[in-house]
């Protein structure tokens, strides 16, 4: 039974790979792969490893690299948001970017819960477009705004570059994102409902949250975000180091890392 389910998933994923061009080598570079498969793949060290291959073809096995998705049921939409997050926090010579750090999976889980549903926000009407000093005034939840934003990222990409967002090269993606950031992208709804800069700001903050959160939230994989920043995570105390005149490079620890 479980085996069958797994095969089904593999099949549909292969199908997806074909349509997006990955399987035929249509996309170069590791960032896209990292978006929906185990990030070890583009290190080239899993090609001969069967389990890795399974992962590579998309079986959501609950591993840190591919924990599966709760909110983004649509593969293409997940790919769009993954690429957008990677542009906010790209992989470079300092270390991994948003995708390798698992930030899209962080966002996926957040959108399915209190964050996505605005459970702790005041959501009673009437709704009016406010002044910038009055803050977010839309009736949309974060989950709804992300869904709309992803749709509009692809729409803007198609209008400007005749292709989906995730298939553009980096510079073109940045051009689209900048349009959102400046509030110049068409959200297809009145500004009282959604403004492109609100979507952009949420995308930006969610990316930073996803790269630096405790790894239990599925981002900051392997604490690599913390390592780049030299943040030691959860330490019981610094009382023996607080007056040190040297910079203390401390091995990071996650909140539940030391517990069973």
């Amino acid at each position: 039974m479980a085996q069958k389910g797994s095969d089904d998933k593999q099949f549909s994923r292969r199908d997806f790979l074909k349509t997006t061009g990955v399987a035929t080598g249509g996309i170069i570079g590791g960032s896209l792969l990292g978006g929906f498969v185990g990030y070890n793949l583009d290190d080239g060290d899993t090609a001969s490893d069967t389990s890795g291959e399974n992962k590579g073809e998309g079986a959501a096995d609950g591993s840190a690299e591919n924990p599966g998705r709760i909110f983004f049921h649509n593969d293409a939409q997940f790919e769009t948001i993954s690429q957008a997050m990677e542009r906010i926090y790209p992989e470079d010579d300092m270390g991994p970017g948003a995708i390798k750090l698992g930030a899209p999976y962080f966002l996926d889980m957040q959108l399915a819960g209190a964050y996505g549903n605005n459970s702790k926000e005041y959501m009673k009407g009437p709704f009016y477009e406010g002044e910038p000093t009055q803050g977010y005034q839309s009736r949309l939840t974060r989950a709804e705004l992300f869904t709309l934003g992803i749709e509009r990222l692809d729409a803007e990409a198609n209008e400007a570059f005749d292709d989906d967002f995730s298939k553009l090269d980096g510079e073109d993606m940045d051009e689209v994102l900048t349009k959102f950031q400046k509030g110049e992208a068409d959200m297809g709804v009145p500004p009282a409902t959604a403004k492109s800069e609100d979507f952009f700001n949420l995308l930006r903050s969610a990316t930073i949250e996803g790269v630096y959160c405790d790894p239990m939230y599925r981002g900051n994989r392997g604490m690599e975000g913390w390592k780049m920043k030299q943040f030691p995570g959860h330490q019981h105390q610094y009382i023996d180091k607080i007056d040190s005149g040297e910079f203390e490079d401390i091995k990071p620890q996650s909140l539940y890392g030391g517990k069973s």
């Binding site: 970017g97 702790k120 005041y122 959501m123 610094y238 007056d243």
Partner: protein, 576 residues
């Protein structure tokens, strides 16, 4: 139909610092006290897995659930007030301990100048300096620093405060209960630079304790471990003085205090036969939605600034302030704070991720009237400090001006700067202005059908000038500290409810010696209801250049004395 319960001697609405102090003192005197807390029970055992920036600092786990209650905001009356749909500018507390659970512990006394600001300003600079034509409404507090001093001392002993004498502060009757925190290399750098500029830096008075302490009530507070998770977090060690580890257990141990959680007060009930007194309150069980009447001989409002105001207003107690006529006292003199500071970029790396909420050094040379204002177009000033509160990676991504806020350059800069920047900042006072006030909203309601509070607020010219002044002084200190580049705070624009600034909201239920100009007397007894007391930063007649909790705690201890006296003798306390 609300169910009527048995009468108690004293009732506190809210159980944080002020409610806990009133409860502890009254219960020790043998009075039967009930505390109605709309949140849940919590304590140190709930903070054992607290080192989670995302949950606590970013998603505000310990703060008020604004889906149930928030406020509306506008910059001026010509705007439509709209709800603050998510927390931002300030972080309202909720649950047992209130904001006293997730404060940083920076615990100052307001200056002698603060309490007599109008008289002292007029005497020194003349009446024009009050700038009344520009809409400022300075007022003395109806109490002096010297009168309040014993209560400051009492609160500091409850906290076990760690600190050292401030040469520019008010006179102290006793030393701090515990010595200052550890002076770290960052603080030493600030000390050397600010001393070099002629200032008088001191270790910040801290409620994260330098050593274990048993307070006068027998409560034990542990020594701070510098774990760097203080602000927006609860302390897993019981090393940050909070209501849950001090005054609340003190009250409970008497056997005279009951905390009733999930109890949201919606109305204060005035005696139908005698409008000089209240009979109790009506509250809703937030889980069952059952309504209760809790009668009490004395009612004390101990919730936050906004909610204390709101309960008076919806219960029709006192007269609402009208900015056109300037009549009415309820809701006037709302004040906030401004933060004029600067960020310095260094080559060397600092241990910025270590720290404690009140680990810092500060000087008051540009606070209050400690510097000459003759040629300045503003009054007051601010406490200028460096703090090492523990910077965490989601919220701390320091950038030079003009660095992009995303992409490769952002990533590189924010990572490098994370351990290579230090900030020095002035915590600036704000003064009451006739156009800044709180009212009740006509459109939006809370989850219990009660209207939301409506805030009308904007920064004024004095704020902009004071902000600029503090930013310049801060930048000079950073240059002296050897920063290779210093970035000064941009000019102050309109007040925005969006970015976090400070949970130091004040006013709306101000104190004084004149019922025409204040809501409560200097025992915090309501002018129109003898057995009703209103306690908190809402009593502040203006906001000073300090964190408010020290002064709030002092006022609460004074109020507690008033409550006990009233319970025994009754009557108007200002006449005694």
């Amino acid at each position: 139909m609300a169910k009527e319960l048995d009468k108690v001697d004293v009732l506190t609405v809210g159980v944080g610092w002020t409610g806990g102090i009133i409860a502890a003192e009254a219960a020790k005197e043998g009075l039967k006290v009930v505390g109605l807390e709309r949140g849940k029970e919590r304590g140190t055992e709930d903070y054992q897995n607290i080192h989670d920036e995302y949950k606590y600092a970013i998603r505000y786990e310990l703060m008020q659930d604004v889906s149930k209650e928030t406020l509306t905001f506008r910059n001026s009356p010509d705007q439509r007030a709209l709800p603050m749909r998510q927390l931002g500018s300030f972080l309202l507390g909720e649950n047992l301990g209130g904001a006293g659970t997730h404060w940083n512990g920076q615990t100052w006394r307001f200056l002698p100048y603060d309490f007599e600001i109008r008289s002292m300003t007029e005497e020194k600079y003349g009446e024009d300096k009050l700038m009344e034509d520009d809409g400022y409404r300075l007022q003395d507090w109806g109490i002096t620093y010297d009168e309040l001093e014993p209560y400051f001392d009492r609160f500091e002993k409850t906290c076990g405060l760690s600190g050292e004498e401030n040469p520019l502060g008010g006179k102290r009757s006793d030393a701090y209960p515990t010595p200052p925190m550890i002076k770290t290399p960052i603080l030493k750098k600030f000390e050397k630079a600010s001393s070099g500029l002629g200032y008088s830096p001191i270790m910040m008075p801290s409620a994260n304790l330098s050593e274990a302490f048993e307070n006068p009530d027998g409560q034990k507070i542990q020594a701070c471990q510098y774990c760097a998770f203080c602000e927006r977090f609860g302390c897993e060690y019981g090393a940050k003085s909070s209501p849950e580890i001090t005054v609340i257990p003190t009250a409970r141990e008497t056997g005279n205090f009951e905390v009733r959680t999930h109890a949201n007060v919606v109305e204060i009930l005035t005696d139908e036969d005698d409008d000089s007194r209240v009979t109790g309150v009506k509250y809703v069980d937030t889980r069952t939605r059952e309504e209760f009447i809790q009668p009490a001989d004395v009612v004390v409002l101990n919730s936050y600034v906004f909610n204390n105001y709101k309960l008076l207003r919806v219960s029709d107690i006192g007269k609402q302030y009208d900015p056109e006529t300037e009549e009415g006292t309820l809701g006037r003199s709302y004040c906030y704070q401004i933060f004029g500071g600067a960020t310095g970029f260094f080559d060397e790396q600092f241990n910025t991720f270590m720290g404690a909420g009140a680990l810092g050094m500060a000087f008051d040379d540009h606070n209050g009237d400690n510097f000459d204002h003759s040629d300045l177009d503003f009054l007051h000033g601010g406490n200028i400090s460096v703090t090492q509160t523990g910077s965490r990676p989601i919220a701390n991504n320091p950038l030079r001006p003009d660095t992009p806020s995303w992409g490769s350059e952002f990533k590189k800069e924010s990572i490098e700067n994370y351990t290579r920047t230090l900030s020095v900042s002035g915590q600036g006072a704000t003064l009451p202005h006739k156009d800044n006030y709180i009212d009740l909203d006509e459109t939006y309601k809370d989850d219990y059908g009660v209207p939301l509070v409506k805030l009308t607020y904007n920064f004024k010219n004095q704020d902009r000038a004071r902000h600029q002044h503090l930013a310049e002084r801060s930048a000079e200190v950073l240059e002296e500290m050897g920063a290779k580049e210093v970035s000064k705070a941009a000019e102050l624009g309109d007040y925005s409810i969006v970015p976090y600034q400070s949970t130091h909201n004040t006013g709306g239920t101000i104190m004084g010696d004149d019922p025409e100009k204040s809501v409560v007397n200097n025992w915090l007894q309501h002018w129109d209801r003898d057995n009703l007391f209103v306690v908190g930063a809402g009593n502040f007649v203006h906001n000073s250049g300090y964190n408010p909790t020290g002064t709030v705690g002092a006022l609460a201890y004074r109020c507690a004395e008033g409550v006990i006296r009233f319970a025994k003798e009754g009557g108007r306390l200002e006449d005694k």
